[in-house]
Amino acid sequence: MAVEARSGEVMQGMLDLLILKVLSLGPNHGWGISQRLQQLSRERFQVNQGSLYPALQRLARRGWVSSHWGTSDNNRRARFYRLTREGERQLDAETEGWAIFRSAVERVLAATPG
């Protein structure tokens, strides 16, 4: 699965959303994104790198992220990704969609017999 969590499986589309969010915090390279995700999710999310890069490609192809080569903190050459205008808009839209989804699930789960 794209994103594994100890609590269960998460859909592939989530990965796109999470990557967009991480990049909204600042441009980063692939490894940095995966570290940040782990960190932000309190080690719950470990990104399968085999899915990370294809996801980044997908996002780039859709025009939500753009990339450029740069130098990392330890002076190594790395490819950096950053959010584009459309990416920002997409992030907002997906965040909202996620909120609606989550509240709907919660409402269903909160139903009591009777």
Binding site: G30, G50, R61, A78
Partner: protein, 872 residues
């Protein structure tokens, strides 16, 4: 990308080291954490889609392998499409070469033919008179240039060469300027050459120059003798200069024309002389180039106004007007209909071929349902599936196109040999680049449609259930079967339509050849002559007493009659298919009526003409030896003339006035189809050659073996006068056949297409039935186990085939009616609903369908019930 992944790996490794692991350990964990490196690579690549070329290559390999595994299918599809595409590209080449190719002149759409019209006679394409031409040229502002020309056959003699009969055009000096043609060598005609009485000059046509003088540049400046008159060669003109002239001359209502070759061998100065050629005669045709920014209508308006002025000034121009047409219209206009018919026919053949292929593809698609389902399960996206199908159909169509183009090239070469030469551009008929492009486009469209259809089919079967379904192997399915039956019905209908069209044309041609021409063609050979002025002076003061001509007539008759192969010989001024000329005439005592009468065809014939050509005498008598110069003038009329002008009482005994003299009618003869087999005979007046001699002579010799006569005749004629050059020496039957050459050509093509279409349709019926039978083997097995006899099964299959055939016939009948209407004026002597044609077609189609059902039916009947049931 590699660098990016390497960076990630390194960072992860460092992390591991920082966590306290040994470097290799760290590296190993990093790798493991990374997941399948290759998976990452592949995933990126997939998302990136850069592998399009790689994917295509892979699809290509798969396709080739799968096609090679089913050679029968591949061969059937490629062959079928090749036939259709080949026929299409051949016809495209013809249409492009003849109709669409621009004329070999600069700004060709500016070129116009200026005809004169006769309001009284209702003619619209008459040649003009010399004084009219000079007036138009002077007064017209809407024309940039105007020129005149006429054509004739002339004797040309060069030093140390036999005299030859060639095609010549006399042109005014402006013609090359009008056409925009420059000479290959030397110079063009100039205004000083055009003055009456100027020294004679000639230009050689490119073809003649290459053929007779070996493209010798030294020809310019040499002397040739044209009809006994010496002329200096001043230049060589390219072949393109003569483009379309023959068609224009043929389109004219009367006048001399070039022979079928359509090439101009020698160009001479017209030297238009209003004195020698007054306003009353109309020997020349006018070609003009309209001025920039002017329209054809404006030119016609201006010239009509000039014509009206001339009408007022000169009584000879009474009722004469002007009609202007674009040159292209005159040259290719008459070809539009036959070419449209050809295009329609080839479209039908292509459709039939496509239907066959569609059928084959659908069958294959159904059989490959399992394969497609597996692909989908393995994750093939819609796009990838479509690409795969398109590659497959692309390969098939590509192969078919290559094969088809090869077929077309061969066919065109054959057509070049067989086609009538009077189609412009026919000589250079070859596979045309634009036609090839059009064929590629058609092939591409076919590939596209055929690629999408199985893809749609595959999408419809998304459900994974198809993997487990047993039907997959058999590839059956109720609705699919029904649609395939309809395909075959459509195919049959198309083939029937085509066959009906071809059948109508066949009957037309048969009728044409067997129509009563009015004169005998078998066993008669003609040889044409022109008696040059120098040795056969034509002094109109003593006409008809032209001694030298009469003497020649007698002598050549004797010599030819002496030939062993010749039974009888006759002389005339023109052979039966030579229109000759018309003249105005009146019946003595009814002159007032005659002012409304059209001119009558005048035939100058010797006394044995009627006997040699077996033209029957219907009343009175024929012409006799005694009807000579100095004796009372006699004449005959043909039946059409008798019916037209002599409604009350017999024409025999009445008198006719013509050429200022009276002629007593002594007989009525049968009609000769002078205007060609396809048209009714015109009214004609026959006068004795001895009483109305001409500088033209035709020797008509009848005998048992025309070929030997053809060889011996010129010799006998030259024995009478060595300086003559007989031309057009051929059996009359060949002249007649040549006159219907165009119809014959179209008919032959249509027949080929119809045969092709019928063959393809029969294959389609056979294929469908064979398929159906294969599907129904289990059912048949059950039937037989339940007591059905072989004969029942056989009959069942054959009945099915016939049902399809009948359905196809019904729809084909509708198509046939449309075909009949499209052919319209091209058919001769048959109606669109000719019963003989229709019954023949119905019979042929039914027979073909029955034949196609026999094999599958036999196979069905031969199935062993136990064996079949065991297959379950």
């Amino acid at each position: 990308m590699e660098e990016e992944l390497a960076f990630h790996l390194d960072m992860e490794t460092e992390r591991g080291i920082a966590d306290g692991l040994a470097p290799e350990e760290a590296r190993r964990r990093a790798r493991a954490r990374f997941g399948a490196l290759d998976g990452a690579r592949e995933g990126v690549r997939d998302e990136r889609g850069t592998g399009l070329a790689v994917d295509l290559a892979r699809d290509l390999g798969l396709t080739v392998r799968s096609l090679r595994r089913s050679p029968g299918f591949t061969l059937a599809v490629v062959l079928t499409l090749a036939l259709g595409l080949g026929a299409a590209s051949a016809v495209f080449s013809v249409v492009d070469g003849v109709l669409l190719r621009p004329m070999p002149f600069p700004e060709p759409e500016e070129l116009l033919v200026v005809w004169e019209t006769d309001r009284d006679g209702g003619t619209r394409r008459e040649p003009a008179s010399v004084p009219d031409f000079l007036d138009f040229r002077e007064r017209a502002r809407s024309l940039e240039a105007l020129a005149a020309f006429r054509a004739a056959q002339v004797n040309v003699a060069r030093r140390d060469a036999d005299p030859e009969r060639v095609d010549a055009v006399g042109a005014s000096h402006g013609l090359m300027r009008v056409l925009g043609v420059r000479p290959l060598h030397g110079r063009s005609l100039g205004p000083e050459d055009d003055r009456p009485g100027a020294p004679a000059v000639a230009l050689l046509g490119e073809g003649y120059w290459r053929r007779a003088l070996g493209a010798d540049a030294g020809a310019v400046g040499s002397e040739i003798v044209v009809d006994e008159i010496p002329a200096t060669v001043v230049g060589v003109l390219p072949s393109s200069a003569g483009y379309g002239l023959r068609q224009v001359l043929s389109a004219a209502d009367y006048g001399g024309t070039l022979t079928e070759r359509g090439e101009v061998d020698v160009w001479l100065s017209l030297q238009p002389d209003p004195v020698a050629s007054p306003r009353i005669t109309h020997p020349i045709v006018l070609l003009g180039r309209r001025a920039e920014q002017t329209s054809t209508a404006e030119v016609e308006a201006e010239l009509s106004a000039v014509a009206a002025d001339l009408e007022r000034e000169y009584p000879e121009n009474a009722d004469r007007g002007v009609h202007v047409e674009p040159l292209r219209e005159v040259v290719v206009g008459p070809l539009r209909r036959p070419l449209a018919v050809l295009l329609a026919a080839v479209a039908l053949v292509l459709l039939v071929a496509c239907v066959n292929v569609a059928h084959l593809l659908l069958a294959r698609g159904a059989a490959r349902r399992r394969e497609t389902a597996v692909r989908r399960a393995l994750g093939a996206g819609d796009g990838q599936l479509l690409r795969h199908f398109l590659v497959e159909t692309g390969v098939l169509t590509g192969l078919a196109l290559a094969a088809g183009l090869g077929l077309a090239a061969v066919a065109l070469r054959a057509a070049r040999a067989l086609a009538p030469s009077d189609l412009p551009g026919m000589g250079s008929l070859a596979l045309d680049p634009r036609a090839v492009l059009a064929s590629v486009a058609v092939a591409g469209a076919i590939a596209l449609v055929f690629g999408i259809v199985p893809w749609v089919q595959a999408r419809v079967q998304r459900a994974p259930a198809s993997l487990g379904s047993r039907e997959v192997g058999a590839g059956g399915g109720g609705p699919a079967r029904g649609s395939r039956s309809w395909l075959v019905v459509v195919e049959l209908a198309l083939a029937v339509t085509l066959t009906i069209g071809a059948g109508l044309m066949l009957r037309s041609f048969w009728n044409l050849l067997h129509v009563d021409a009015g004169f005998a063609t078998r066993g008669v050979v003609k040889a044409e002559l022109r008696l040059p002025q120098s040795r056969y002076p034509r002094d109109f003061a003593v006409w008809p007493d032209w001694r030298e001509i009469h003497r020649f007539h007698g002598e050549v008759r004797e010599r030819v009659a002496a030939l062993p192969e010749v039974e009888r010989v006759a002389l005339a001024a023109a052979h039966p298919l030579d229109r000759g000329f018309t003249n105005s005439f009146a019946v003595v005592g009814r002159e007032a009526e005659a002012t409304d009468w059209p001119e009558i065809r005048v035939r100058q014939v010797g006394p044995e003409y009627l006997a040699v050509l077996r033209v029957p005498v219907l009343a009175g008598r024929g012409l006799r030896e005694g009807d000579r110069a100095g004796r009372p003038r006699v004449a005959l009329v043909n039946r059409t003339a008798a019916d037209r002008f002599f409604t009350v009482g017999s024409p025999v005994g009445q008198e006719v006035s013509m050429w200022g003299q009276t002629w007593r009618l002594v007989g009525v003869v049968g009609d000769e189809r002078i205007h060609g087999l396809e048209e009714p005979a015109p009214p004609a007046l026959y006068v004795p050659l001895a009483q109305a001699p001409s500088e033209r002579a035709v020797v008509l010799a009848r005998g048992g073996d025309p070929e030997t006569i053809v060889e011996a005749l010129p010799g006998a004629i030259r024995a009478a006068d060595p300086g003559l050059a007989p031309f057009g020496v051929e059996p009359l039957a060949r002249t007649v056949a040549g006159s219907v050459a165009r119809t014959r050509f179209v008919m032959a093509l249509l027949a080929v297409f119809a045969a092709l279409a019928l063959l393809l349709a029969a294959m389609g019926v056979h294929g469908l039935l064979a398929y159906r039978v294969a599907l129904r083997i289990p059912e048949i097995g059950v039937r037989m186990a339940l007591g059905a006899v072989r004969r029942d099964v056989f009959g069942l299959i054959v009945r099915e085939g016939l049902a399809l055939a009948v359905a196809g016939l019904v729809f084909g009948a509708l198509g046939g009616v449309l075909a009949g209407r499209l052919l319209g004026g091209m058919v001769f002597g048959v109606d669109g609903d000719d019963p003989l044609t229709w019954s023949a077609v119905v019979g042929a189609v039914l027979a073909a369908a029955v034949l196609a059902t026999l094999a599958p039916a036999r196979r069905a009947a031969g199935a062993e019930p136990l064996q079949v049931l065991r297959m379950e």
